[in-house]
Symmetry: C2
Subunit: 224 residues, 2 copies
DNA sequence: TCGATTTCGTTGTAAATACAACAGACCTTT
DNA sequence: AAAGGTCTGTTGTATTTACAACGAAATCGA
């Protein structure tokens, strides 16, 4: 378990913690390691969350598939990020989404009940952990609002531009990679893949942007 | 200020607090009262949040208007609910949305800095407050995910059905009122008002639902 | 290296949506 | 009661999108 300390040191959840803090938290919170092959489900819609979970290695998609097979991708999770954090409170109900490994992944899970209950003697960092958790949930909240902003655009082009320009701003570069292939991007923005592909090529021909696979470059300071 | 204690007693934020707890919190957190006429802005996009805010009376919409005048309604706030809670953490950046009073409203605001910093001696309830705050942000988080679920539907009909059936489930009744008129509902679901009105009437003619103004009834246990 | 699979772009058609314009119902105010 | 305004439903048209099908390119695995 100690092999994860260097990683955890860089996460927002353990921000401000020393190695010895993290070691005692891993123990106090009953951390467990799970490994998933690409394509395997970490959680399924309708389940109860089993605790706070953190991605150590690999990649995940938070997504949902309806009865007709339509896939909708809510979010992309990268190493060091937590997920399912909105379900660690009582009465949060069943999970609304599936969580799927997009590559071979390692997941750490922490005991549900011990996180929000105080154990001041054993874990001096516990207070800070709750605060960090709050920061993280707030950040997720703002991220969801940004996604709603993309989705509220009426046309595929506007959805694409708002997402891509936001991503450029977030990565502080006009050139950036996105964590989706074309089909996944379409499922993320809830549009048709072929229509989206068409629109991307039109924008490329108009000189608005260039791309190669999942690498995009926005031209002319188009940041709206 | 004490006139708000009965209201605050019923809010999730002060859940578990006694009257004396609330009174000392109001003092400790530097609560201030602001009043807004219908149509006035409580916050504007791009501002920095001034603190944690709670709606005491009236109604608010969290919304956004783009350069072309297209309105997008993110959320509806009712008395007892807090808003802007995702911005009380450091480095949260500027507000992404406007907050507008949909009727004459009374808003309580609490001091930003004192909420997450511990003041154990003065406020025995402070620890519980942070926990309640965390619960509330988590609940908001899940609400945003639900909204993303409506918005990810491809057709106006599916957007309407997912929203209305979800609202029926939430209000635990096949008959329920929504906090929007037609134009606002369209701006909430990001669809055209006339097309939406058309679709509503078609569904009524097909026997899927009935409505009168903002009162809807879903028939035949249609809850998908 | 070769074959199989996945990804991506392209096209055509049917369906759904946005937009504009308008009429009637309803509400408020005087 | 009348006038003015708002809200809602309706219709027609232009635009946009979804859907299906296919070929080429890239990727993967043996």
């Amino acid at each position: 378990m100690k092999e994860f300390i260097p990683l955890l040191n860089k996460t927002k959840l353990f921000s401000g913690a020393g190695d010895e803090d993290i070691a005692s938290m891993l123990d106090c919170l009953g951390a467990a390691v799970r490994r998933y092959k690409k394509g395997e489900y970490v959680f399924r819609q309708g389940e109860r969350a089993r605790g706070l979970t953190l991605l150590a290695e690999g990649g995940l998609h938070i997504q949902k598939e309806d009865y007709w097979g339509n896939l909708s991708i809510l979010n992309d999770i990268k190493p060091g990020e937590i997920f399912g954090e909105a379900y660690i409170v009582p009465d949060s109900g069943a999970l609304l989404n599936d969580v799927v490994a997009t590559e071979d992944s390692v997941v750490l899970s922490f005991d549900l009940d011990r996180i929000l209950s105080v154990c001041p003697s054993a874990c001096p960092f516990h207070t800070q952990l709750v605060k960090n958790l709050f920061y993280t949930v707030s950040a997720r909240n703002r991220g969801l609002v940004r996604k709603l902003d993309y989705m509220s655009r009426r046309t595929t082009r506007d959805k694409l531009l708002s997402y891509l320009s936001d991503e450029a701003k977030r990565q502080k570069s006009a050139s950036f990679a996105i964590p989706f292939n074309r089909q996944e991007l379409a499922d993320f923005l809830s549009v048709d893949r072929s229509a989206m592909s068409n629109e991307l090529c039109k924008m490329r021909d108009e000189g608005i942007l260039t791309f190669h696979k999942n690498e995009f470059t926005i031209r002319n300071g188009k940041t709206k």
